[in-house]
Every structure is written in C-alpha cells, then in structure tokens.
C-alpha cells in the first residue's frame, strides 16, 4: 500500500491562501471579460442619436407636408422650374445638366471587396 499524499499549505500563504488568490484572479478576469464584451456591445449599438435625428427629419416632413407640399411634384416651384427652364423631366436640357454617367475606376478587373 502506498502512502496517502496530502497537500499542506506553505507558511507563506497564510494571509491569502492559494485558492483564495485563484478565486480573486478568476473573478477579476471574468468581470473584465464580461465588461469588455458589454462595452463592445454598447459601441456596436450606439444608434440612439441616429434615431433622434431621423425623428427630427420626419417631424420636418410633417410640418412641410401641411404648409408647402407632401410630394415633390406638388412643390409649386418645380412646375415653375420646368416651365421656365427645364421643359419636362428627361428633356434634352435636363439630360445635359441634371444627368451624368459613370465609369469603372479600374479598366482591367474590379477590386475585391
């Protein structure tokens, strides 16, 4: 029969035992990890100010809708612009001034996203 092994704390660890030390470090690391994780969550979801600005935009829509026009073709300066200058949508003159064209930036092959 072999002798039963026993673990005895060394005298140096009287103030904080080895186990207590491990507990403290473990809890500390867990707190730090969860905290950092939460922080990245907060960063990823920081869209509160976007929602408030969007609400401001829709509020302007409500004000303008009743006082000027709800839709573009009902803005009375738009027919004036076309009567005095632009003729009609997609006319020769608006095609020249208000339309454009696009070119590939790289002639050989596009960049990979």
């Amino acid at each position: 029969m072999s002798e039963k092994k026993m673990y005895v704390e060394k005298p140096a660890s009287v103030i904080i035992s080895r186990r207590t030390f491990l507990k403290i470090v473990g809890i500390g690391i867990a707190a730090l990890a969860i905290g950092t994780y939460k922080l990245t969550d907060i960063i990823a979801q920081r869209n509160k100010y976007i929602k408030i600005r969007q609400a401001g935009q829709y509020k302007d829509d409500q004000i303008v809708r009743n006082q000027i026009a709800p839709a573009s073709h009902l803005n009375r300066m738009i027919p004036k612009f076309y009567r005095e200058f632009g003729e009609q949508p997609l006319s020769e003159i608006t095609e020249e001034l208000l339309h454009t064209h696009y070119e590939p930036r790289i002639k050989t092959f596009p960049l990979e996203v």
Binding site: Y49, I50, I52, R65, A71, M77, L90
Partner: protein, 493 residues
C-alpha cells in the same frame, strides 16, 4: 446663462455668441467632439491610382500621432480600406477608400481628420462680386444645433436660413434639388418599368396639365432594377468594386450636383439675374464623400451649357458646378468664426419660404434618412401611375430606421390610361432599401447583376441610418467619442 454650459461645451464661446433667451433648451453636458481639419495639400488633385486628374485625393486621413490602433475604424469601414493590425498605427488605403467618413465619426480617439474649405468660403463671402450660394442638405437641419449645445434632432430651418443670409449666402435648399431629383429619377424609373415590364416603345405622361412624350428606345441599355445614385460614396463603391452594376444606376446626378448645375444656369439667369461666372456654389453636406463628388472632372455641365448657348464668353476658364463643399461641422465652424448663432429664436413650426429655392416638399426633407429617397419616389410615382393621391402619404414599410435591409411591395392601383397600356389593374412595385452598405449590399448587388433580382427600385445609403449619420455630421457624445476622455492615461499605439 450660457456660461453654465461652457465648461462642458468645448465650442460655445459664451461672450461671442449672443444669448437669445432660450438657453433652457440646451442640454447640460451635450457637447460634441472636435474633429481636426486640414487645408487642401498642393498635390491633392494630381490624380493617380483610382483617382482621375482633378479629383480630390485624401479627404480623410488618420493622424498617426493620435491613432492607438484600436480597430474601431476597421470595423465600420465598408470597403476594407483601413490597413494596420490591432495595436498598430492604422492607415487609409486611398485607392480603396470611398470617402464615406464612417471611420472619422466613429473614432473614439479623435485621430481621424478631414480636409476643410472654410477659409476659401470665407474669402468668397468677402468678395463683393461673388454671389455665394448655400446648398443645404436635408440632414444638416437636424444636426447643426448639436454643435451649439442642443440635443440631436433639433430642427433648424428658418433660423439657419437667417444665419446663412446674415453671413452673406443666397439660399438654394438642397431639398428643392431633391424634388428635382424625384421628378427626374421617378420618371426614369417609370420609363424603365414601361420598357422592360410592359414592352412599350413610347410613353405619354400628363405632367401639370400638359402631355409629356418619352421615347423609350434608349432604355434598352438601362435595365431593372434601378439603383439610386444620390449617395456619392455608394457611386464610388460601384465604380471600384461592382463596375458591372453601372447600367443599373440611375443616370440622375445627386441632388447636390443638380443644385449646382441649376444654380449656375437657371438660378443665375432667371432667378437672381447675375453673371453665371460670378456664382459661387457651396454644398453644405452631412457628408465627406460629397467633397470628393464635387471635384469629379465631368461635373462642369453648367460651364459647358452656358458656353454652348452663348451666355458666357468662349474663353471662360472651366468652373465646376459645385465650387466648394462644407460639412455640417465646417458650417458650425464658419458660424463661430463669423460670430453668428444659427440656433437663435424658436420659430420652426411655421414655414414662410421667401425665395424660389426655399420651397421644398415633405418627400424631399426625408432624403436625409434611410428609406427617404424611396418614400419620396413612391409618393410621386403613385400619383403618376394611379392618377390620384394615396390615402396616406406615409409609406412606413420602406423606412430603414436601423434595419440593415428593408424589402417591401407597394400595390399601386393603375389609372385608366395605364390600365389600357398594361392590361393590369394593380401594379405591385417591389422595392428594397439598403441601410448601410457594410455587410448588407453584396447579396443585393450580386442578385441584380445575375438578373435574379425581384425588385424594381433599390435605394442604397452608404452610412447606417442614412445621411443623418454621415461622415460630415457632428460627432455626438452618444457615439464612441466619450471613451477617450474617461481614460486615466493617454493610449498610444
């Protein structure tokens, strides 16, 4: 009274800006983070790489002295243009960059800087020969007040107009140009649908009492689905990464460029009666990509048209449609330097437009938010196709808010004319709204290129939430900018 806030607010210089008695609306501690700017370097327009000669290169740059290598910018960049591992000083690869500025407004350490033209605009305002025109984007009016200590979403329209006029600007609201855009882009959409779905070769639409005829032959090269072209970052994204999508892009310029070209032709000749070459147009945008867009060499159509029609001498040197672009932050800086308070007074509920270009519709003002272009286009297209107004002007199902991709089907009852042409009673308009191109765009684009797309019209906004969250907007403390001040010691890569 303002001084109680001035400790927290890095910007409001108490003694410079007159107190207007509505300070109670200012929110304590509501201060925005300063974004450093720099002037245009001498070689910025030399071209090279994916830039043509004349185009501004390096509108956004990372200051290596302040970058800590935290990787926040890498996470938000839609085009993988940021080089550098975690913990190493980052760098922008300009050839891949689409100038959207998401990295700039999300940097927690204020390390990313923007090219600014405030000095140039100030010098033009002092030049008595120049008619300086402010083209004000929709999203500016819900964010400008943040720079002066007010909460986000505070509307500044009348007050901002007043401040701009005091500074010496003429007003060309970009929302008027947004209405022009809807007329052009909406007609283009109806024409594409008529050609591709109904097989028509010619189309007649009644506009304001007169019949307008459209020859649809050249839409052979403009397939469905049609993509919006209002977002300059998205346009550069297509040109760099998906050139095969180009036929699907609407041929319409963005509202800013429409405004510039109209201001220098119709505006100068018929509205203000000034010499077109003395009109200096300034885009005031929530966006850094607009700075790039204005410098595109083909955007000088007003100069070409004026020369061809004999309104300016043959030897007039080339001028662009939009001469300079200021971001929302730059405009606040300009007001601060001129000691003008654009948030003075409180009369936003009543609109009394005084000049032609101050008139805008509700559809135009929501261009600044994701789904807005789509909703505005639907409002007008509905009226054209149905021959009557919709029961409600709110098409809530297309609003992007904070969703990445929104898909919707809008049933439009056709008018008797269109019923005859198409043989159907109701047309189901299928639309898609992409809210932030990062992670959301690729599937939509690949479907369109392969011809599998079920949609007719697709709106794309590069920045999540739309222009209200653009790269030129004030950096709000509800974002990540609060992280740097709370750190006990400065971080360094």
């Amino acid at each position: 009274m303002v001084s109680t806030n001035s400790k927290n607010n890095k910007y409001v210089a108490t003694k410079d800006i007159p107190n207007d008695g509505i300070v109670s609306k200012q929110v304590k501690g509501m201060s925005v983070t300063k974004v450093n700017t720099f002037k245009e370097p001498p070689d910025a327009r030399s071209g090279g790489g994916t830039f043509r000669k004349g185009e501004l290169k390096g509108i956004i740059r990372i200051n290596p002295k302040r970058c800590v290598g935290c990787d926040t910018c890498t996470k938000v960049c839609p085009s993988n243009a940021i080089a550098g591992e975690l913990g190493v000083t980052h760098r922008i690869e300009l050839d891949r960059c689409i100038n959207c500025g998401q990295c700039l407004i999300n940097c927690p350490f204020g390390a990313i800087e923007q090219m600014s033209f405030v000095d140039e605009v100030l010098s033009k305002l002092n030049d008595k020969n120049k008619t300086v025109v402010a083209i004000i984007a929709p999203a500016v009016r819900v964010a400008l007040a943040e720079e002066f200590g007010y909460p986000p979403g505070t509307l500044t329209v009348n007050r901002m107009y007043r401040a701009l006029k005091e500074a010496g600007f003429k007003i060309y609201d970009n929302n008027f140009a947004a209405d022009q855009t809807i007329l052009e882009e909406g007609t283009e959409l109806i024409a594409r649908i008529a050609y591709w779905l109904f097989g028509l070769k010619e189309l007649e639409i009644e506009v304001w009492g007169t019949k307008a005829k459209f020859n649809l032959e050249h839409f052979e090269h403009k397939p469905l689905p049609q993509f919006t072209s209002c977002c300059p970052a998205w346009i550069r994204y297509v040109e760099l990464y998906y050139p095969r999508l180009i036929p699907h892009l609407s041929s319409c310029k963005s509202p800013q460029q429409m405004a510039g070209a109209t201001a220098k032709t119709y505006g100068a000749l018929k509205v203000w009666n000034v010499k077109p070459e003395n009109v200096y147009t300034v885009g005031i945008m929530p966006c850094t990509a607009k700075i790039f867009e204005a410098s595109r060499p083909e955007m000088c159509n007003a100069w070409k048209w004026l020369k061809e029609n004999g309104h300016i001498p043959e030897n007039t040197p080339k001028f662009p449609d939009v001469d300079a672009v200021l971001t929302t932050r730059d405009l606040a800086e300009l007001f601060r330097r001129l000691k003008i308070n654009p948030v003075m007074g409180d009369d936003e509920e009543v609109r009394r437009p005084q000049e032609d270009f101050e008139y805008y519709s509700g559809g135009a003002t929501i261009f600044g938010t994701s789904g807005g272009v789509m909703e505005a286009a639907i409002r007008t297209a509905y009226c054209v196709l149905a021959g009557k107004e919709p029961e409600s002007w709110d098409f809530v199902e297309v609003r992007g808010y904070t969703k990445g991709v929104v898909k919707a089907t809008i049933p439009i009852p056709l008018s008797s004319e269109f019923r005859k042409l198409t043989g159907a009673d109701v047309f189901d308009l299928k639309v898609c709204v992409v809210n932030g191109i990062k992670n959301h765009i690729d599937a939509v684009v690949e479907d369109a290129i392969a011809g599998r797309s079920e949609f007719h019209f697709i709106e794309v906004m590069c920045c999540p939430g739309g222009c209200v969250n653009g790269g030129g907007q004030p950096v709000n403390p509800m974002g990540t900018s609060w992280i740097d001040p709370i750190l006990p010691l400065p971080l360094k890569a």
